[in-house]
């Protein structure tokens, strides 16, 4: 039994289906990468909050903790008033330390100084420390 060769129309249909399939896979791959590229970056639970006990932060003192995987600090400049800040110096990324005597932050790397509100007081830092929202919940403080 001899095989009947496929007609040009049949071959075109067959090849057309393969081409369409390849096009669909390529378009899908391209579309997926564009979607991933344009999607907001996953910052590891940006919405998550940190809960701390109020007793951890003395009036005029500071308490360091981790917020969204980064070093952060909370202060109580006056009784009942809390400020939460990113504790990473905006110059080169060292972790600032709190100086009780002067009530300001000092970066041990290049002597950048920040106020208790995170504003630059001196040294090389180009901008203020980022602040985080703080809310009170009974005996706890919610950051973020």
């Amino acid at each position: 039994m001899s095989e009947v060769p496929a007609s040009p129309t049949e071959r075109r249909t067959f090849l057309g289906i393969i081409l369409a399939a390849i096009g669909a896979v390529a378009a899908g791959g391209f579309g997926w990468s564009m979607f991933r590229f344009l999607s907001p970056v996953d910052r590891g639970g940006e919405e998550s909050q940190v809960r701390l006990e109020r007793t951890l932060v003395a009036v005029g003192g500071a308490h360091f903790f981790a917020f969204q995987g980064r070093p952060a600090v909370i202060l109580q400049p006056r009784a009942g008033e809390y400020i939460a800040l990113n504790a990473v110096c905006t110059h080169l990324g060292c972790i600032v330390k709190w100086v009780d005597e002067s009530q300001e932050f000092l970066c041990p790397c290049h002597a950048g100084r920040f106020s208790s509100a995170g504003q630059v007081l001196g040294g090389p830092p180009p901008r203020a420390l980022a602040t985080y929202p703080v809310t009170l919940d009974g005996d706890d403080i919610l950051i973020g």
Partner: protein
């Protein structure tokens, strides 16, 4: 049209020039006068400073020596904060104006405790004007043997060398990630903070303290490495996906050619 283009170009370069003027003005006064003087008051420190890490980061004469770099007449007056050349024992506080953390560890170290008896200060190892990016090579037999035997420094160097090597590898990895367009800001910050704290540690020249705390730094570096590995892994996957896409397009092209050939008999 051509004239407008030339004028726009001129304006662009003029703006760039004007933009650089304030930066240039900062160093002019000190370098203008001292750059022309011979010896240790002029050409030597000026030339040395120009090769330094400080010059690269625009840390100029007045940042350490005080004074006013914008005023020829009052540049070197106490009124403008000029402090001149520090005494041997004043050098740590001089450098500590910026390097506060290292200064703290230095004073606690044996080096700091013997400074009034001629012990080493910052510039003994780091140089004064030709100060370079610090590396582990600063601990070497020639340098340390100027004051004492090399036995203890060799132990310290051995203790920190693996962590230092890891730091260098991670720096190189971050640089290559940056070159391919990855936002490495957080990684750079993390690594800089770890590197700075680690280098503070060995300024203590206390072998027991260094031994006890090095493991903590290694753990921090492992975390940074894990993030870098993850990014490199993603990049690898992207390369494979890109290659597959190119192959698909080539295959699509071949099939389009075959489809074209099905029309040839009918032409």
């Amino acid at each position: 049209m051509k004239k407008i283009f030339i004028r726009a170009n001129l304006l662009f370069f003029l703006l760039i020039f004007v933009g650089t003027l304030p930066a240039a003005a900062v160093t002019d006064v000190c370098i203008d006068c001292h750059g022309g003087l011979a010896g240790q008051l002029g050409e030597i420190p000026t030339a040395e400073w120009q090769t330094s890490i400080h010059a690269r980061h625009r840390i100029s004469c007045h940042h350490c020596h005080g004074g006013d770099p914008t005023d020829y007449v009052k540049a070197m007056t106490a009124e403008r904060g000029f402090v001149g050349v520090p005494e041997h024992s004043e050098v740590p506080a001089f450098c500590g104006q910026c390097h506060v953390g290292v200064e703290e560890d230095y004073w606690e170290s044996l080096h700091g405790q013997v400074i009034d008896f001629g012990g080493p200060n910052c510039v003994t190892c780091h140089e004064s004007h030709a100060v370079q990016v610090a590396t582990i090579d600063l601990i070497n037999e020639i340098s340390c043997s100027r004051c004492h035997s090399y036995e203890k420094p060799a132990l310290i160097k051995e203790e920190i060398s693996a962590t230092e090597a890891m730091l260098s590898r991670l720096e190189a990895s971050i640089a290559s990630l940056y070159r391919v367009g990855i936002d490495t800001g957080h990684l750079e910050d993390e690594l800089f903070a770890t590197r700075n704290s680690f280098r503070r540690l060995f300024h203590s020249v206390d072998i027991d303290k260094i031994r006890a705390e090095t493991a903590g730094f290694d753990a921090d570096l492992e975390q940074t490495k894990a993030t870098i590995d993850e990014l490199e892994n993603t990049l690898g996957k992207r390369k494979i996906a890109g290659g597959a896409l190119v192959l698909l397009l080539l295959l699509g092209g071949c099939i389009a050619l075959l489809i074209r050939r099905t029309y040839e008999g009918h032409e």
